[in-house]
Subunit: 137 residues, 4 copies
Amino acid sequence: MSTTLTHTTKLKVKFHECDPLRIVWHGNYLKYFEEGREDFCHTHGISYLDAESNGYATPIVSSSCEHKKPLAYGDKFTVETSFENAASAKMIFTYKIFKNEELICTGRTVQVFLDQNNELSLINPEFYQAWKSKINL
Amino acid sequence: MSTTLTHTTKLKVKFHECDPLRIVWHGNYLKYFEEGREDFCHTHGISYLDAESNGYATPIVSSSCEHKKPLAYGDKFTVETSFENAASAKMIFTYKIFKNEELICTGRTVQVFLDQNNELSLINPEFYQAWKSKINL
Amino acid sequence: MSTTLTHTTKLKVKFHECDPLRIVWHGNYLKYFEEGREDFCHTHGISYLDAESNGYATPIVSSSCEHKKPLAYGDKFTVETSFENAASAKMIFTYKIFKNEELICTGRTVQVFLDQNNELSLINPEFYQAWKSKINL
Amino acid sequence: MSTTLTHTTKLKVKFHECDPLRIVWHGNYLKYFEEGREDFCHTHGISYLDAESNGYATPIVSSSCEHKKPLAYGDKFTVETSFENAASAKMIFTYKIFKNEELICTGRTVQVFLDQNNELSLINPEFYQAWKSKINL
């Protein structure tokens, strides 16, 4: 039984995202991941603003990216964002970027829940647990 | 009698600031202006955080840049930030960027004061007027 | 008789484009203008890569933005990019950003043509003149 | 016998690097790492431009960051960049960012060598091997 939810976002490389090597500057992939993640969250009804209205911030505590191929100016690509069902109180997303059928890079981000006193939540906040139940996780 | 205060900031072009034309992407000059402005404000004792602790935000309502020459990766340059003493309730800064003696670009930003109700202040806030007095403006 | 071509691009504010005031950082509007301009150029068949394949770079020599209202995280907005038919050898675009019906900001960029020796072209390059003819300008 | 070279770079958080959570946006740490790496390379005489003049590009193929604490607007911090002596034809750097004595984050980047045909170099290019010899690695 799979517990993976995946969402696909279509994007296009912009001029200001490219560097003197004429490829996307490596740090900009974290922007693409963020776009994929926000698109996922919007689609699946769990946004950054939901977290906030429930009194939580969800800062990223870990991020990584493995590059296989570069993207260049004007390239169209897709970000596949998948939700990884974590046992601990963390939101984990993995990413795959494709140009046509070709894998460009993979990535992963981990977010935690900070309450209004800036304390790390060791269990899933209620609103988050409710969301997981709603999508059968 | 001059009412111009000027501050000089030394910077160096970073790789991620350059575009496929191998020059600084035009929008990044606004970052250089911000660095110059913050350096000016820090030196002259009037920071963004001062505004905030006095209940004001100081958003930029106008910005412009005229480019004469490009900057390339690794170039060292200076930002000359000047305070323009405005009659109205605005903070106006002008900028000149030089590489060696050569003028690279000029720019200008205008900021207004918004109070805690997000209302535009039509007169100079007290903390700002006090600062201007202190520096004899 | 109007000589204005206009193109509209729909965008959405991303988290990483917002600053501690919780609004879009002013310099990011130049990215939105670039997206509008590239979308315009793609639609009207005159891209940055066309210029390049014809031996020209088209750096921005002037940019400005006048802000009326802020945009915040998640806001949907449109960029209206208009081509201004210049007498001299310049590409001039003006921009209006709207959220719903409300005007958020206006802007303008000017680009020149540099040939392969990095010399400023004082007349319109052939490929550009041909494009203007094609669209009846 | 240690084969680690370390270089320290002092930086300060800029306004435009912070997000609506009022902390540095996570992707901007890759910019800090780049500043640390370029500073290291400049100090130790092995720059991106050296690679280029020898016919190589050195794209980043892997990057990661583990966040312990956030940085906020105006914070002063140091980037400790260390060179990891790899067996294979890779340039590996690790990073530690400190605010005062406190560890803010750790990171790592891996670069490869691409020749002028965009082919991956499986052995160290000569200029790179010469540099390593010069610093006794």
